[in-house]
Amino acid sequence: MSNYLDLSIKEINNLLKSKKIKPIDLVEEAFDRIEKSSSLNCFITLNKEAALKQAKELEDKEVDNLFFGIPIAIKDNICTKGLRTTCASKMLENFEPIYDATVIEKINEKHMIIIGKTNMDEFAMGSCSKTSYFGAPRNPWNESKITGGSSGGSAACVSGRLTPIALGSDTGGSIRQPSSFCGVVGLKPTYGRVSRFGLIAYGSSLDQIGPITRNVEENAELLNIICGKDEKDLTSAKRDSEDFTRLIGKDIKGMKIAVPNYFVSDIVSKEVLDVFNKTVETLRNLGCTVDYIDMKYLENVVTIYQIITMAEASGNLARFDGVKYGYSYPNPKDLEELYTKTRQLGFGDTVKKRIMVGSFILSGENAKIYYDKALSIRDDIKKSFDMAFEKYDFVIGPVVTSEAYDLDEEFPDPSKSFMDDVLVMPVNMAGLPGLSLPVGFSPNHLPIGLHVMAPRFEEAKLYQFGAFLEKELNLNLDPRGDKNE
């Protein structure tokens, strides 16, 4: 079998244009790799028959864009017409959407080939993809380790070189955190940059779809395709069209960077801090200034995030009632039993716990005590970032507090999965873009990422910064070992 999928997208594109290869070569290679790496459990559903058919049909078409014929993996909470979309839940085990999400329409317009739907935490609730009804995916760097989550399947798929690109979604770190654990590049775009139409909602005021790729430039190229105002999503932003790659290659000398002290406090492990401190040194050597600053409310972010997401989730998941679609409890004695037993048997433990607490938060006076107050502090978190960005180009920190931990490790504390995302949640609170970029390895040779945060709609600058640092570090991010060295 060939190794075309190890090439850059640009190189693959040139081969397709010069007719040296056909899309079917790429698709067959992707499925061959998936089969050989089945232990990674990256996919819930494969789209093999349709993908092969599409690849054959593309042979008669002109290669009209960079992503033509490129295999892509899609997180399983993004609706794909006629292709099973489960949210990694028993509730949607047999659900076939009747429409495409807007991002899927955009991907189809560019003739990318959807290879399958990737594994994730159930309804995106979790931090290691272990809440999946279909079993957890495994980290390509070490299969006994977690991939992170909730977009664990997408991150592991790109990391394991099964497909060169994937889409994930990020409510409180779900693109950036698994990208860090798996050594790939993940972006949570500015809230509103990408349409959420067709993304099965978790926390509507936080959710964003974003690209997961092997490098920064391909990430920017993919964002070019999926972004844009969508009349089907009132929260999508009307912006002038721009090329997110336009600043890539420009020097970052003179850029001002802030590190919140909380992001390097004792909540972060030594192996992560060591890599982070080395990165700060590199940035200073590249001519950036790096200051350590205090930012308000960062230490409260988990509490605020828990309140907002669980409340929003309880409303969003109220639609799963056994009536309109999804799992339905058979032969209920009345409507109440249909609702309550459908939800008892259709949802997993984590989802049930979170929507129970969410319903409590929104009931009666509690809405004022918890939810309204959380929204007030959320506003203060946003203002705190606004203040930092008056003086600095970027705020940076580690992505995760530790390296990827053992898949078998059990944590009795239900808040552990929230704490895993403590460093990346603030970005969702403030609606900012955040880039997760691999910057080194732990002594166990597990990838460690850098989290770079920018003002709203400054993705192009994030990519400039990320690409420059990526080139300087020149890491081998292929988990298949020395193969490429």
Binding site: T235, A318, D334, S376, R378, P414
Partner: protein
């Protein structure tokens, strides 16, 4: 860590319309107690201003034009409905004669 009583677990389960067996009530009592304890920490946060951020979007009065669009056909719309009779979605009887 506060463990919820059986009645408290059943109360939040009822709010979320989730049936629970005795074994589940026991299993969730600790975790729910911990999560409720976590969110209670918000009561200690001071010094914030009252302005609320409901959504990061500040420009959402941009409605689409009021024009006739394409509708789903009946067969497509009903594709994922678990129980149907003729053109109707079927649910258990709500009122007894």
């Amino acid at each position: 860590m506060k463990k919820l009583s059986k009645e408290e677990v059943l109360h939040v389960a009822h709010l979320a319309r989730i049936n629970l067996e005795d074994e589940e009530i026991e299993r969730y009592a600790n975790d729910l107690g911990k999560l409720l304890e976590d969110i209670d920490k918000i009561k200690d946060i001071k010094g914030y201003d009252d302005e609320m951020m409901i959504s990061p979007v500040e420009y959402n009065s941009d409605l689409r034009p009021d024009v006739e669009g394409k509708m789903l056909d009946y067969k497509t719309a009903m594709k994922n409905v678990p129980h149907s009779t003729g053109n109707f979605v079927e649910v258990p009887v709500m009122l007894n004669e």
